[in-house]
């Protein structure tokens, strides 16, 4: 099909407009579309793709539960609602906290796979509890700095250093 404007190139953009119940169609090439100021998205940004994946989990009632979406991670304050918008998680703890809601998305993104079977750290990694504890200490440190409570901030920093040893 030829472009209806330049009548030269192939029409690759097909627009359907319905105004007052009257339907009209237009078939144009990319160049004419650009000249007409019609934006064409050739690539879907990853966060939009993730949002659509996360939003389209049929039958997953828990995910559509507003409370679940509003649950905030105690270590980073992140919610699933924010994940929908941003496409990235707030902290490593979110994987465990939102495991149930994230599972369908992870399955889709990784062709049905949900468990790691690749490289393992060459030495024993920090256990999950210790990782969460460090995250929590850093969260409190941020708050202390914001409140200008430098005494508490110094104590928390010492604790973090101790925990990281």
């Amino acid at each position: 099909m030829r472009c209806q404007i330049c009548n030269n190139k192939d029409a690759t953009i097909h627009l359907t407009e319905i105004t007052d119940g009257v339907r009209s169609e237009m078939h144009i090439c990319e160049q004419c579309a650009a000249e007409q100021g019609i934006a064409v998205k050739s690539h879907i940004p990853i966060n939009e793709l993730l949002s659509s994946l996360l939003a389209a989990q049929p039958g997953d009632d828990e995910l559509s539960d507003p409370d679940e979406l509003q649950t905030a991670c105690p270590t980073c304050g992140f919610t699933l609602e924010q994940f929908r918008k941003e496409g990235v998680l707030g902290c490593p703890n979110d994987y465990e906290l939102f495991a149930k809601s994230l599972q369908p998305l992870i399955e889709k993104a990784h062709c049905g796979k949900i468990t790691h079977c690749g490289k393992l750290p060459s030495r024993t990694p920090l256990d999950t509890r210790k990782q969460a504890e460090l995250l929590s200490l850093r969260q409190r440190l941020d708050a202390a700095v914001q409140n200008e409570d430098y005494e508490l901030a110094a104590q928390l920093r010492d604790k973090i250093t101790e925990n990281e040893k």
């Binding site: 707030g90 790691h116 079977c117 969260q139």
Partner: protein, 267 residues
Amino acid sequence: MKLTDISGDINEWFDGSGPMSDIVVSSRIRLARNLAGHKFLSRCSNAEKSEILKKLKNVLMSLDLGDKVFYVSVDKAPALSKNFLVERHLISRHHAFGKGPRGVVLARREFFTAMINEEDHLRIQVLKAGCQLSQCAKQINEIDDMIEQKIDYAFSPRFGYLTACPTNVGTGIRVSVMLHLPALKMTGQIEKFFNAAKDMSLAVRGLFGEGTEAASDLYQLSNQVTLGVSESRIVSQFEDSIIPEIVEYENAARSRLLTSETHILDD
């Protein structure tokens, strides 16, 4: 050591050498990693980002890579330097024009770069000319092991290496090859290549990665699945089946252009 010291050189991985280099221009493997006990970057204050940057920079600058290593503070670099780093495939556009404290550690010969505070705390990559994925995999694994001796990565036995975006979780590996496929394009078969890649859950991108055009018939082909399959399996899929097949199709299309479809090459 400064960027100007390397600006006159041709990148080692782009010098046209290496196996199958008439079609496979270069091989690249990157690993996405985050530090244990830190939030992901979207939730980090600038102070925490600086702390991560300092920790990782110290570790990376102390590595023995068999080459000179230097650091560029990306957030403080002028636009010209950022564009230079992007054009040389040493950092992503996202990293160049992102926000907050961030940097890159580079090997003088440009086979290794480590972006600090891109989407994840750390993204290391190894680049080589031609089809050399096994060699890339071996080298990046050794570097990853060296880093792991000095810091703790965020890791869970269930999900593997934890990344900011769940699409990278598990191995955190992105295996990619840059392919030059002019004959498939000219003979109108490039769509078949796109469809085959899609069926195999592979991503096809333009010359400079996500969202970029495929200039000069150069395409980047990379894996999308990072969880539930081992690094070595992903690499062997590329080396044993995916790449040989594409090379065969491109060579067949090149032969046809020179024999039965010469009119396409005529001016």
